[in-house]
């Protein structure tokens, strides 16, 4: 009898609990812990003997191998494994051989020179076990665009496995390599560093629009710090906000909104939103303390930001309309620059301990925190790749400020820049 009563009580309690605290919707995709897909990439065959085709083959092979190594989805097999089996004959593939060295996926590439300028790259990939052709594509390109062709093929693999196509996405950043702070962009791997603005003014804090076509940034000019949206591909620029010091833009992942900071009211930084074209500006935060560094959740219903309303800068989350503010960082006295992972379950941020800045990742589901960097330096301004596996940030660990890439679990740290000082990166989602 008592046991039964207890059970009903427990059930009641559970039901009440469920009604009182409805489960929060969590966007989650299981990614870490999934085994990497072993890929065999035998050397690409070159159809003619021209040195151009040979060079092209080397570049394409290297870029694709590096992309896949970086991906954390695929894992290229060690090259010495290929010594145990017969060399690849593209017309007659012996799949058992490839299976014997534990390849799940086989990439076959063939390169030929079309004319003086054009290289043709035919790439296919096969499922080894079922001995089936999965997808392929033929790329025709000039020599200077071989890296892009290789990234496009890597993207094709990612797309096939339901992953965001990060290999052609660009990183925008600020560099002073040619005098004052100007906007630059580069490939995800640090190649093709290109200058975007040519003015005497100092540009600051860029952020890609969701479609990857425009950049919101602050220009310091004539004693003003105005926020602009600039399309470098069309050379068009639009003023968004010219009151106070306006900075720290972040576009919402659905492409509809832009959040930013401005000090227009009594010199106190507050967070504002606008439509993604910069119109219809609304204020989100109203208080006497500083609110900075907005970052949208992937479903665009929430915004993470920094506020010193509790006495020191800490990470908070609010609903997209500005209500329901709750604190999410504890245990330190200086946390800033939150960036919400595209997978929704993590926020990477900067924590300052005795003038050393390190990146930490807060897991929103488990409340676990991991320390990402150990640089005895200032590691800051983190931003995520579109698939949430990689983070680009700036660090002064070698003396000058440079951009680095690191994975969500602290693996694969790599420096991307070396000329001048480079900072404030933002990684396009598209």
């Amino acid at each position: 009898m008592i046991a039964r009563k207890l059970i009903t009580l427990a059930c009641l309690f559970l039901v009440a609990n469920f009604i009182l605290y409805p489960q929060q919707e969590v966007v989650m995709s299981i990614k870490e812990g999934m085994p990497l897909i072993p890929v065999a990439i035998p050397n690409f065959s070159v159809k003619d003997t021209s040195p151009e085709a040979k060079d092209a083959a080397d570049i394409l092979y290297k870029v694709i191998s590096d992309d896949l190594k970086y991906s954390r989805v695929f894992s290229p097999l060690p090259k010495n494994y290929y010594n145990y089996i017969k060399p690849l004959d593209p017309d007659k593939i012996l799949f058992q051989d490839w299976e014997s060295i534990q390849a799940k996926l086989l990439i076959v590439g063939q390169i030929s020179k079309q004319d003086d300028k054009t290289i043709q790259f035919e790439a296919k990939f096969y499922d080894v076990k079922s001995e089936r052709f999965i997808r392929g594509k033929t790329y025709q390109t000039e020599k200077s665009l071989l890296r892009l062709a290789a990234h496009k093929f890597s993207n094709l693999l990612m797309e096939t496995y339901g992953e965001p196509q990060i290999f052609t996405t660009k990183i925008v950043f600020i560099s002073n390599r040619d005098a004052n702070n100007e906007l630059y962009m580069m490939d995800y791997d640090g190649h093709n560093q290109t200058r975007l603005t040519f003015n005497r003014e100092k540009d600051y804090m860029p952020a890609w629009s969701t479609d990857g076509k425009s950049i919101a940034y602050t220009e310091f000019k004539g004693g003003n710090a105005r926020l602009y949206i600039y399309n470098p591909f069309e050379g068009k620029r639009k003023l968004v906000f010219d009151l106070g010091t306006s900075f720290g833009p972040c576009f919402s992942p659905d492409g509809k909104k832009l959040a930013f900071c401005s000090t227009e009211d009594e010199s106190n930084s507050e967070i504002y939103t606008a439509r993604s074209d910069g119109t219809n500006i609304k204020r989100l935060t109203f208080n006497k303390s500083a609110d900075v560094s907005p970052s949208w959740s992937p479903n665009c219903r929430e915004v993470a930001f920094t506020s010193d309303r509790g006495g020191s800068p800490q990470i908070y989350i609010m609903d997209a309309e500005g209500s329901n503010v709750r604190r999410r960082s504890f245990g330190g006295n200086y946390h800033d620059s939150p960036a919400w992972s595209p997978t929704g379950d993590r926020i990477v941020y900067v924590s300052r301990v005795q003038a050393v800045f390190d990146l930490y990742i807060l897991n929103l589901r488990t409340d676990e925190i991991i320390k990402l960097t150990e640089g005895y330096a200032r590691n800051e301004s983190p931003c995520w790749s579109a698939d949430g596996r990689h983070i680009i940030f700036s660090s002064n660990r070698i003396g000058t400020i440079q951009l680095y890439s690191i994975d969500y679990d602290g693996a694969n740290l790599k420096r991307l820049t070396s000329k001048g000082q480079n900072k404030l990166p933002d990684w396009a989602r598209n």
């Binding site: 600051y204 004693g223 560094s293 301004s381």
Partner: protein, 181 residues
């Protein structure tokens, strides 16, 4: 010898005679001429007087760049992570306010700056608060608020590129730029 003496004496007498004769001849129409001559002298004098002529004129002559290069308003420094006006800063701000009271047409921009030991984002807010602190203090000394604009550069424009306490202290500052006069 005697000849020479008598010759020169006679010459002198002749010249003296002529001279006296001229004077007498000219004395008939003099009044207008005497009045005109001093006027001519007065026209010559102003270039000599000019330096005395005024601080205002010198001020008016200078371009904004020249004026800013002289740094008539001194930099104010802040404590790490803080934006309150220190005691040493008050005196500087009082002098700055006095200067602004003297030159009533001047409008200024207060630039708030931070050192590298704060994050890019939060420093932008902190820099603006430093500018606002000086703004409020100047306003309390009677400077009209429409003569002051504020901006934050965060840590993007250090004045000292060093990485030590001396450099950091120099960089935690408000800088005053004249934008109108």
């Amino acid at each position: 010898m005697k000849k020479i003496l008598t010759l020169s004496l006679s010459c002198f007498l002749v010249i003296a005679f002529f001279a006296s004769c001229r004077k007498k001849v000219e004395e008939t129409p003099p009044p207008p001429q005497v009045e005109e001559q001093p006027k001519l002298e007065k026209v010559e004098k102003p270039p000599v007087k000019e330096p005395k002529l005024t601080e205002e004129e010198i001020f008016a002559k200078k371009s904004l760049e020249e004026l800013n290069a002289e740094k008539p308003m001194n930099v104010v420094l802040f404590d790490y992570d803080k934006f309150f006006i220190r005691e040493d800063a008050k005196l500087i701000l009082q002098n700055n306010a006095a200067w602004m009271k003297k030159w009533k047409s001047v409008k200024i921009l207060i630039e708030g700056h931070c050192d590298e030991r704060g994050t890019e984002d939060y420093n932008m807010a902190l820099g603006e608060k430093r500018a606002k602190s000086a703004f409020d203090y100047l306003a309390s000394l009677g400077i009209s608020s429409d003569r002051i604009k504020t901006i934050s550069y965060g840590k993007s424009q250090p004045t000292d590129l060093g990485h030590n306490e001396i450099a950091w202290q120099k960089n935690r500052r408000d800088q005053f730029t004249i934008i109108e006069k």
